[in-house]
Amino acid sequence: MIKRKSSAFLFVLPWVVTLFLFWVYPIIYSFIIGFTDRQLLSKDYSWVGIANYTKLLSDQQFLLALKNTMIFVVGTIPLTTVIALVLALLVNKQFKGRAIFRAGFFLPSITSMVVIALIFTNLYQRGGYIAMLAEMVGYTAPQNGFLFDKATALYSIMGMDIWMAVGYYMLIFLSGLKSIPDELYEAAEISGASKIKQFFSITLPLLKPVMLFIIVINSIKSFQVFVEIFVMTKGKFETATIVYYIYEMGLTTKFNFGYASAAAYILFFIIAFFSLFQFYLMRKRNTAW
């Protein structure tokens, strides 16, 4: 028995070591250096208490990054969720070529974000296809392109992000729709319930766990948005988000580890708060639904 236990321990040991070395240790270490003025190149550093946190809360760049992140989260999550649900409902119906539509919607989510961001950088540029399309419907595109204008840069990235993400969440909604028993709809039909009534009384309540999963996962992903910002604007034109700010402060030219770690922990607490709040709201509505 002891031998079996020790061999099991040996099997999980590599994973446990990796977990502690590359996950638990950095998390604890970054929390500690968040209270220091640690800079990577400097050998000396000292304890500064909560100074990094208080400084961050009055740092205009950090506050702008926080605002941009909130705009990104609030702007993309509802739209992504609604569009993904609508697409899932559409491709759940029987029609010719359904598989092509399903694959087509899903394709962007398995394509590299860097590749998509580079393609969209071209599409959004001065005289690009999106500018031409916009002008066809009477909208005057920004003179220097969508990404070189404060008024449009962040929203353009959000648009691309929604386009890219809906396919993945559509697939998750689709799996949720498949798990709803047909008998419920048959019973509703017999009772004379309209399609809309069926949607709000059967589909939506039964999709609630799936929707919660999607909203939480998408929120976490949106709070951590980085690649598209890095590739498309490098945080310029008021597009810097918190993770981009952390990257700039801690990992590019500044290497201000203590300050960047404090910013990372603020993001962690924000994500934790929002995730718990979403769980709470969904649980509360469970009774209402």
């Binding site: 990577l40 190149l41 400097s42 050998k43 540029q125 001065r126 003179q143 220097n144 070189f148 204008d149 404060k150 490098k234 310029k236 034109f237 990992l251 590019t252 030219t253 500044k254 290497f255």
Partner: protein
């Protein structure tokens, strides 16, 4: 037993006597035209110094700085490293670079650019190549705008007039190539105007921040005027593409454009001229590539020898010919007939002597950010040049007083 001990001592002594010193060198030149030249120089050095081997490691501009920082922070830095001029102070202040002041004293007068590698009166790196920016113009567009074939803008008024006239030729033709908010690039385009208007970042004692002086505000207003009215706004690459496609009249750029024109076999009627100024010629931006020695290296003597070899006038000319560039730090190399053979290379050599480098400051990255933010505010935001520069001054003062 005695024989074994004597033999062992003999083997140890003989192997150590013939042991080679291996120098590690991290450098950024990966261009297929340049890398073989670098390798050839290294081979030549190894031939001349059979007791020294050089191990080359390539870095990229995309993440080279990060790699160097991490290597030095973890104590695994190379013996010799190529550094951009604005990185030297941050490594020097944290004690990672070897003070070469006494090692270079005999050859110091033969090279230019020491100001960029001197921090607290100590020299931490040897200038290898320098870099500056000049005005490039499209002769065909200048002619169309009514200028004769000898015209090049000398004063700011002439520069502005040329930009406006070219811009009015056609709605798809732009007078001036204006950089978008690109980090580490925008300020290099603005500083030539800033300095040529007589502005400075700090006073002579490097204490008082002067970025909000009348000169500085005038410079930003001038830059904003040509940007707002005639600017083709894009990334550096985008501006150069449009310029070479004949869509832009005047741009500010470096000598890499000459190489590009040659590599792409472009038929282009190019004009290169010095930065205009209130007093002609103006002052351009000066930067450069430097070779520094890791303070923790135990092969400093060999490293100094190698740096002297690589930066020798002959090797600099060899490099410039391969790179089609005009940026040697060696004053002797600048006299080489190669640089006189091309009018554009001559422009760079002349401008290099009239260029100014940013202050050598470990906080430069933050100061640069403050200046860039002010320019961005004025060009792309709602900020007036005066308020934007005042904001920059407050920010820089905060950085310096921290």
């Amino acid at each position: 037993m005695k024989t074994i001990v004597v033999t062992t001592i003999f083997i140890i002594l003989s192997t150590s006597a013939f042991a080679k010193t291996t120098l590690s060198w991290w450098q950024f030149w990966t261009d297929p035209n340049i890398k073989p030249v670098i390798e050839e120089m290294v081979s030549e050095f190894e031939k001349q110094n059979p007791d020294i081997d050089v191990e080359l490691t390539d870095l990229t501009w995309a993440n080279g700085h990060e790699k160097i920082v991490i290597a030095f922070a973890s104590g695994t830095g190379p013996d010799i490293v190529e550094l951009g001029s604005d990185w030297i102070a941050e490594f020097a202040v944290n004690g990672h670079l070897y003070d070469i002041t006494s090692d270079i004293s005999s050859t110091k007068s033969e090279y230019a650019g020491w100001g960029m590698s001197t921090y607290n009166d100590k020299i931490y790196a040897k200038p290898w190549f320098l870099g500056t920016r000049v005005v490039f113009a499209n002769r065909a567009l200048l002619n169309k705008a009514g200028y004769d074939s000898t015209f090049a803008p000398v004063t700011f008024t002439q520069f502005k007039e040329a930009v406006y006239k070219i811009d009015s030729l056609d709605k798809n033709i732009y007078g001036f190539g204006s950089n978008t908010a690109e980090k580490h690039r925008l300020y290099k385009k603005f500083l030539p105007f800033f300095w040529s208007y007589g502005a400075t970042i700090f006073d002579d004692e490097n204490r008082l921040c002067l970025v909000a002086s009348d000169f500085a505000i005038k410079a930003l207003q001038f830059y904003k005027d040509i940007h707002d009215s005639c600017g083709y706004v894009d990334t550096q690459r985008g501006i150069e593409d449009a310029f070479l496609d004949g869509k832009i009249g005047l741009i500010i750029s470096g000598d890499w454009l000459l190489k590009r024109i040659e590599n792409e076999n472009r038929k282009f009627n190019l004009v290169s001229s010095l930065i205009p100024g209130e007093k002609y010629p103006g002052r351009s931006f000066l930067g450069g590539e430097f070779l520094a020695i890791n303070k923790a290296s135990d092969k400093k003597e060999a490293a100094v020898k190698f740096i002297d070899f690589i930066t020798s006038p002959d090797n600099q000319v060899k490099f410039c010919k391969a790179n089609r560039s005009a940026n040697p730090s060696s004053k002797t190399a600048c006299q080489d007939p190669y640089f006189a053979s091309n009018v554009h290379l001559q422009t760079f050599i002349k401008q290099m002597n009239l260029a100014k480098h940013p202050p050598v400051d470990p906080d430069w990255v933050f100061i640069e950010e403050a200046i860039e933010k002010a320019v961005e505010e004025a060009l792309f935001g709602d900020g007036l040049p005066a308020t934007a520069m005042l904001e920059a001054r407050y920010k820089i003062e905060e950085i310096k007083n921290k």
